[in-house]
C-alpha cells in the first residue's frame, strides 16, 4: 500500500473514488476486534484496539464485538470474559484444540468463517507478527482492503473508516479508505493507542462457531516453541521509563553509558536504527518505524538526531528529553526538554546525579 509509484502517480485519481457500496455489502454491520492470544495470554494490543473500536462503534451506533480464536478451555473463556471488561458488547468465538498454536491455515479458516457468517463492517487486528500474518491472508481471501500499521482510526461523515498510517518510513502520513469492499480491515501497532480503562462488567453474549477442521487438514505442524529467555525478552514497548542512544555515542563501548543510566532509573534501554545496522545493539531494542513503538512516561534520547522514522516510535511518550551536541538536531523539534551537550560526557554525570537524588539515603536526608 502507498508504494512509491502509487503516491507519486495518482493520489488525486484515487481520492476521486466515491463510495458506491454494492447491495451485498450493505448488510455488513458492527465493529470487530481480533483478540490475539499466544500461549494462553492475550496480547495487550487487543485491549488497545478495544479502546479505539469502542469509539468507532459508538460513532456508527453499532455493536463492538471481540473475536476470540484459540484453544478450547479456560484461556479462551477468560479472553472472552475480559473482552467484556474492555467494552465488548458481544464476543464471537471459535475455540478448538487445533487452534492451540497460531497456524496460518487454521486461523484463516476460523476468521473468514466468522466474517462470512456475521459480516462485520470493520475488522481490526494488532500489527504483530501474528496479526500481520493473519490479516494479509484474510484480506486476500475476502478480496477486501487492508490498511496496515495505522496510527489513527476514525469514522468519516458517510460512515467510512478513515485509517491513517505513516508511509515512506514515517516522513508522510496518509489517510486510506476501503470505500466499496467489506469488511474494512486495519492493523494497528502495539502501543500506538492507549489501553482503555478496564471496568468490571457482567458476562455478555458469546456466539460460538465450530472450526470444522481435523488435524490432518492442516499441513503445517508446530514442531516446538522456544520462548525468548527472560534476558532476551525486553519489556521495551511497555516500559514507563526508556533511555535510548544513537550515533552520537560514537562507539559501541559507549552504549554502556545508556545501559547504566537505564539501570539506575529502573528503565529499559533502546536505540535508534543505525546502531542496529552497525551491530552495536540487537534489533529487539530498536525504537522507531521499523522497530518498536513506545509510550513511556519519560523518554531520554542520548545522541539521537531524531529522524522522522525515530519520531514515529516515540511520539506517544509523555515527556521526551533530548541530549545532543547539535543545537539544530531534528530531535529538538519534537522533544519537550533539550540540552545541547555531548551525551558521552553528560551520561555518566547524569547517572551519578540521578543515583544520588533517588537513593533512599539522600531522600531520608532531605526528609530529615
Amino acid at each position: 500500500m502507498n508504494t512509491a509509484s502509487e503516491i507519486g502517480a495518482s493520489p488525486s485519481s484515487r481520492a476521486a473514488a466515491k463510495k458506491q457500496l454494492s447491495d451485498r455489502f450493505k448488510t455488513y454491520k458492527h465493529v470487530w476486534v481480533f483478540i490475539e492470544q499466544e500461549r494462553g495470554q492475550v496480547h495487550s494490543v487487543s485491549w488497545e484496539l478495544m479502546g479505539v473500536g469502542r469509539k468507532l462503534a459508538d460513532k456508527l451506533k453499532v455493536d463492538l464485538a471481540a473475536v476470540v480464536i484459540g484453544q478450547e478451555g479456560e484461556a479462551s473463556q477468560a479472553a472472552a470474559t475480559e473482552s467484556f471488561c474492555y467494552g465488548a458488547d458481544l464476543v464471537y468465538m471459535v475455540a478448538d484444540d487445533l487452534l492451540k498454536d497460531y497456524r496460518n491455515e487454521s486461523y484463516i479458516k476460523a476468521l473468514t468463517k466468522l466474517v462470512n457468517s456475521y459480516k462485520p463492517e470493520i475488522l481490526l487486528l494488532g500489527a504483530t507478527t501474528l496479526g500481520r500474518d493473519l490479516a494479509g491472508s484474510v484480506a486476500t481471501t475476502l478480496r477486501t482492503g487492508l490498511t496496515a500499521d495505522c496510527t489513527e482510526l476514525d469514522v468519516d461523515a458517510d460512515g467510512s473508516l478513515a485509517a491513517t498510517r505513516p508511509t515512506f518510513g514515517g516522513s508522510l502520513l496518509c489517510t486510506i479508505y476501503t470505500l466499496n469492499y467489506r469488511p474494512q480491515m486495519a492493523t494497528v501497532r502495539p502501543r500506538v493507542m492507549p489501553v482503555p480503562e478496564r471496568c468490571a462488567r457482567p458476562i455478555g453474549r458469546i456466539i460460538t462457531l465450530p472450526l470444522g477442521l481435523v488435524e490432518d487438514d492442516i499441513v503445517t505442524k508446530v514442531l516446538s516453541f522456544l520462548p525468548d529467555r527472560d534476558s532476551a525478552r525486553s519489556n521495551l514497548a511497555y516500559a514507563d521509563v526508556v533511555v535510548a542512544g544513537g550515533l552520537g555515542l560514537g562507539s559501541s563501548e559507549n552504549f554502556r553509558l545508556v545501559r547504566r543510566l537505564a539501570d539506575v532509573l529502573g528503565a529499559e534501554f533502546g536505540c535508534s536504527r543505525p546502531l542496529v545496522q552497525k551491530g552495536w545493539v540487537t534489533s529487539d531494542r530498536q525504537i522507531g518505524q521499523t522497530g518498536k513503538t513506545i509510550r513511556p512516561k519519560l523518554y531520554i534520547a542520548a545522541g539521537i538526531s531524531g529522524a522522522i522514522q525515530h519520531r514515529v516510535g516515540v511520539d506517544g511518550a509523555d515527556l521526551i528529553v533530548a541530549i545532543n551536541t547539535e543545537r539544530n538536531a531534528p530531535i529538538f523539534e519534537f522533544s519537550h526538554l533539550g540540552i545541547v551537550e555531548d551525551a558521552i560526557r553528560l551520561l555518566p554525570i547524569l547517572t551519578e546525579a540521578f543515583r544520588a537524588r533517588l537513593s533512599p539515603h539522600s531522600r531520608d536526608r532531605i526528609a530529615g
Binding site: 516522513s171 476501503t178 503445517t220 522456544l226 526538554l337
Partner: protein, 280 residues
C-alpha cells in the same frame, strides 16, 4: 530446485525529503535501492541453490527503471530476472499487487517450472505493510511461513521444509510442505557481494520484460488503481509540535539542571523513580 524471489525497488527512505510547502515527496536525487529485507530473501534463496542445486529467478513489478534492481540481483548470482511493467499496474495497492505478481508467477511456472519456494522480504521499507507475501501465498495456494529467521532443514524427497519463525515472545519451529512462500527477517547471514563472473554475466543478461498481457493477466480490472480496494484520500506531513523543546541552559552543572527540569515538568515522576530505585 526452482527458487523465486520477489524484490522491490524502493527509494532509500533515509534520504527522502518532504517538500515544505506542497507536502509531496521530493524524489529528485533520492537514490533507489533493493528493499533491504528482499536482499535477505535473495541471499536465503542463493544459499539453498548453492546447497541443493537448481536456479533462482528474481521478479519485480515496477517502472522500467526497476530493471536496475534486477540487474543488481543478477550480479549477486540470480539466474534469471523478470520485470513486470505496464501502465495498468500503476497505483496498485497490496491486493492488486498480489494479483499481478501471482499471475506473473503462474507464467514463470509454465515457462521455467513451478517454484518450490517463493521468497519475499518480511516487508518493504516504503510501504511497510507486510501484506504482499501473504497475499501471493493465498492467491497461489502456497503454504505460508512469515517472519522466518532461518531455514533449518529442507527435504526434497519428502517435500518438507523446517523453519524458525519469529513470533511474539519466542521462536516457532514450523514444518510445512513445498511449495511454500517464505518471508525473510533480517537474518544473521551475510549478504554476498557477488562474484566477478556474475557481474559480467549480469551486464550482458537479458531481462524478461512482461506487460500485463504478456504476463497472462486475464482481468485487467483487478490490476493497478482499478483493482485496489483501498483508496488514498489524503497525504500529509506529520503535524509539527506547537512548541519546540524547552532548552536547558546549564551553567556549571548540566546534570542537575536537567534533572531539576525533568522533575519540574513531571513532579510525580520523582516519587515513582525513587520507588523504583529503592527496589535496586
Amino acid at each position: 530446485m526452482h527458487l523465486l524471489v520477489c524484490i522491490k525497488q524502493v527509494p532509500d527512505s533515509g534520504q527522502i525529503r518532504v517538500h515544505p510547502v506542497t507536502n509531496t515527496i521530493m524524489r529528485q536525487g533520492v537514490p533507489t535501492i533493493i528493499n533491504p529485507y528482499d536482499l535477505f530473501a535473495l541471499e536465503a534463496a542463493l544459499e539453498l541453490r548453492d546447497q541443493f542445486g537448481g536456479e533462482v529467478t528474481v521478479l519485480t513489478m515496477g517502472p522500467p527503471s526497476a530493471e536496475d534492481s534486477l540487474r543488481k540481483a543478477l550480479t549477486f548470482g540470480a539466474d534469471r530476472a523478470v520485470l513486470l511493467t505496464d501502465r495498468f499496474f500503476a497505483g496498485a495497492d497490496p491486493l492488486a499487487t498480489t494479483y499481478a505478481l501471482a499471475t506473473a508467477i503462474r507464467r514463470i511456472s509454465s515457462e521455467f517450472g513451478a517454484p518450490d519456494i517463493v521468497f519475499t522480504g518480511k516487508q518493504t521499507i516504503d510501504g511497510d505493510t507486510a501484506q504482499v507475501g501473504p497475499g501471493i501465498a493465498k492467491r497461489l495456494g502456497l503454504f505460508q511461513l512469515t517472519y522466518v529467521g532461518k531455514i533449518s532443514a529442507l527435504d526434497l524427497h519428502a517435500r518438507t521444509i523446517d523453519v524458525e519463525r519469529r513470533s511474539e515472545g519466542g521462536v516457532q519451529l514450523l514444518r510445512t510442505r513445498l511449495p511454500c512462500l517464505v518471508t525473510m527477517l533480517e537474518a544473521t547471514n551475510q549478504i554476498r557481494r557477488g562474484a566477478m563472473a556474475d557481474a559480467l554475466r549480469a551486464a550482458r543478461a537479458t531481462i524478461l520484460k512482461w506487460s500485463a498481457q504478456q504476463a497472462g493477466v486475464d482481468d485487467i480490472s483487478q490490476c493497478g488503481l482499478r483493482g485496489s480496494p483501498t483508496v488514498v484520500k489524503r497525504v500529509f506531513a506529520p503535524a509539527a509540535r506547537n512548541e519546540k523543546a524547552t532548552m536547558i541552559e546549564p551553567d556549571e552543572q548540566p546534570a542537575e539542571a536537567l534533572i531539576n527540569a525533568i522533575f519540574r515538568c513531571r513532579p510525580a515522576l520523582e516519587i515513582e523513580l525513587a520507588a523504583l530505585a529503592r527496589g535496586y
